[in-house]
């Protein structure tokens, strides 16, 4: 009974949180705050999507930038070169990502453990280098820049002309919610059971009638689909993409970290991972700390430390990813969520 009450309380809490998120732009118009929220939703979507293949199915892909990049490039290239509206071009990008995932799955799923990880990296690198090397289609290293998005209209009625961050806020929120719901649906279906069986023991799963090939590919397909959608969104939101922003190995690693830091194989894990990672990395990137220290008079603007903080710290926001992953793997291998649960159960017992 207690657990039912708890889950009811959980549902109420979840709905309340959702209501706050929906109402947020009505009360906060600061573009930077909206921007952070958008990044948070985007990271949640990326983490949840990876979680399906990595967390539930146990296949640690470190090449998800390929799907993110495919979604982003598909959309913007079609828009820039052929003037195809992004609401159609997006699906082309997603389709490319899905094809890519089938190709990668066919090649890589014959390999297990570390070999699979290495293969997933190799394929993603091939994708990045290919994009770099066919400038006639992708503009190569220069990247694709879009100055304006066409307004989104339904039957002549302009829904939004994308002049503020608010429409992006809602699209990103919707994307995150849909990805979370999809994960929930997977978890509560035959697919979820089969994915987890494969994660726990491939040979045992195989003997129980589970086609490893089919279900691993299914998991990757679902994962690639939502990762590509995130890529589409990123491209339209930022309006500039190049191989170093949407296709690098670093991005693949960051996507994995979102899930790992929160706790893999759980619905809340990637959300928590995003909540931890995004604010931390943004604080570093945006010089908030340096500005605060300088404004408070603790550090002089012209002092060596001041110049150092202003000039360098912003460049090194990825450092926080490195430190976090080392700390998490060493001290909380089940992620923040698992760590908190462990603490809670220890408290209950003590």
């Amino acid at each position: 009974m207690k657990s039912r009450a708890a889950s009811a309380a959980g549902t109420v809490l979840l709905l309340a949180a959702l209501a706050v998120l929906v109402a947020f732009p009505a009360f906060v118009s600061n573009p930077y705050a909206l921007h952070i929220m958008i990044l948070l939703f985007l990271a949640t979507g990326q983490g949840e999507a990876w979680n399906i293949i990595g967390g539930y199915t146990g296949q640690y892909s470190v090449g998800h930038a390929a799907y993110f990049g495919a979604g982003a490039y598909g959309t913007l290239v079609l828009l820039q070169k052929w003037n195809i509206a992004p609401w159609y071009g997006a699906w082309a990008g997603v389709a490319v990502a899905l094809l890519l995932s089938l190709l990668i799955g066919t090649i890589c799923f014959r390999l297990r453990g570390p070999y699979f990880v290495l293969a997933s990296i190799a394929v993603a690198e091939i994708v990045r280098l290919t994009v770099l090397n066919v400038p006639s289609v992708t503009n190569g290293a220069e990247g694709v820049l879009i100055s304006d998005l066409p307004p989104f209209t339904i039957g002549g009625w302009v829904v939004t002309d994308f002049s503020t961050k608010v429409p992006f806020y809602y699209i990103a929120l919707a994307l995150a919610i849909v990805t979370v719901l999809a994960t929930w649906a997977v978890q509560n279906s035959k697919l979820g059971y089969y994915f987890q069986a494969i994660r726990e023991d491939q040979d045992a799963a195989h003997s129980l009638g589970i086609s490893l090939n089919f279900y691993k590919n299914a998991a990757l397909l679902i994962s690639a689909f939502f990762t590509a959608l995130a890529g589409v969104f990123y491209a339209l939101y930022v309006r500039f993409i190049d191989p170093t922003t949407v296709l690098p190995l670093d991005l693949s690693v960051q996507i994995v970290l979102i899930a790992i830091i929160g706790g893999i194989g759980t619905i809340y894990g990637p959300m928590i991972g995003a909540l931890v990672l995004i604010p931390l990395s943004e604080v570093l990137r945006s010089n908030v700390i340096a500005d605060l220290l300088i404004k408070s008079g603790l550090v002089g603007v012209d002092s060596g430390l001041g110049i150092f903080l202003k000039g360098r710290l912003a460049q090194a926001h990825v450092l926080i990813y490195g430190i976090l992953v080392v700390v998490v793997i060493l001290f909380m291998p089940q992620g923040v969520l698992g760590f908190v649960r462990k603490l809670a159960s220890r408290k209950e017992q003590g």
């Binding site: 290495l118 360098r312 090194a316 490195g322």
Partner: protein, 287 residues
């Protein structure tokens, strides 16, 4: 003639690749840990060499003598404090941990020295030797000679000394080695130290002909995987061979196909090897 030229410079650069690969393969052999921070160790070697040269005017090739012990100590320290704690955990977690270590190294270096490209210009950086109509970059030739010397010394160490044999025994069967009274913990520290110093040496050797910057490592980490998987994870002979092969594929590929696609070629070969013979060329015989 162009092909012969490419072949020769491929073999020369392949020697440096072999050093990187051998380091990775020894670490994997002894600990079964794939070190994703390997390229970053090389990057640190490059910075060491750069500052030894610009501040103390130590010739890059002489600086190897300083780089090797420093990198050995750094590698041993990493093994003792961090890597050792995760030896028994999931391979995925080991990979992520070393990725994290790599990010910490590259971003710390960036914090300290910015992400600017640094160029180490020696009097001989762009000079070349002409032998039988083939021009050979002088720094590459010297670095190849040093590579050969180090590799030979390493073989001698692994085959002829007691410690070397203990390392090989640990790589073959960790548990059996432990039962035989080998101090496996010490061997792991040694292995990571050796691996790090080989990576650092490779960094020192290429710094006269390469840009020095914080992110230079990741490309070499990937290359190191390709080399070790090609040769067979854990095989020193395989890594030597793999390094030379990748060097030749790159430089011949750059001439015959295009320099833009040479890395794609390397990764494609990598995938084919993973699929057709995941145990690599020398997969059976470890070390």
């Amino acid at each position: 003639m162009v092909l012969v030229q490419a072949l020769v410079s491929g073999i020369l650069i392949g020697g440096v690749y072999a050093l990187i690969g051998i380091g990775l393969t020894i670490i994997f052999g002894v600990m079964r840990v794939i070190n994703f921070a390997h390229g970053e160790l090389m990057m640190i070697g490059m910075y060491l060499t750069y500052f030894l040269f610009t501040l103390l005017h130590v010739d890059p090739f002489v600086s190897v003598l300083i780089t090797i012990p420093i990198m050995f100590a750094f590698g041993a320290f990493l093994q003792k404090t961090v890597i050792n704690r995760i030896l028994g955990s999931l391979p995925q977690n080991q990979i992520l941990l070393t990725i994290g270590l790599g990010l910490i190294m590259s971003n710390t270096v960036m914090l300290a020295f910015t992400s600017d490209y640094k160029i180490l210009t020696t009097s001989y950086s762009s000079s070349s030797l002409h032998i039988a109509g083939i021009s050979v970059s002088q720094p590459l030739a010297v670095s190849f000679a040093i590579t050969v010397a180090i590799t030979a010394a390493l073989y001698w160490f692994l085959m002829k000394t007691d410690t070397g044999q203990a390392i090989r025994a640990t790589a073959q069967d960790r548990e059996a080695a432990q039962l035989m009274g080998i101090n496996v913990r010490r061997m792991s520290i040694l292995a990571f130290g050796i691996g790090a110093s080989l990576a650092g040496t490779a960094g020192a050797l290429i710094s006269p002909t390469y840009y020095v910057f914080p992110q230079v490592g990741s490309a070499f980490t990937l290359k190191a995987f390709v080399i070790t998987v090609l040769g067979g994870m854990g095989s020193v002979v395989g890594a030597t061979l793999g390094g030379i092969i990748i060097g030749v594929v790159e430089s011949v590929g750059a001439v015959t196909i295009s320099s833009d696609w040479k890395d794609v070629l390397v990764f494609a070969i990598f995938l084919v090897v993973l699929l057709v013979k995941p145990s690599g060329l020398m997969g059976k015989s470890r070390m």
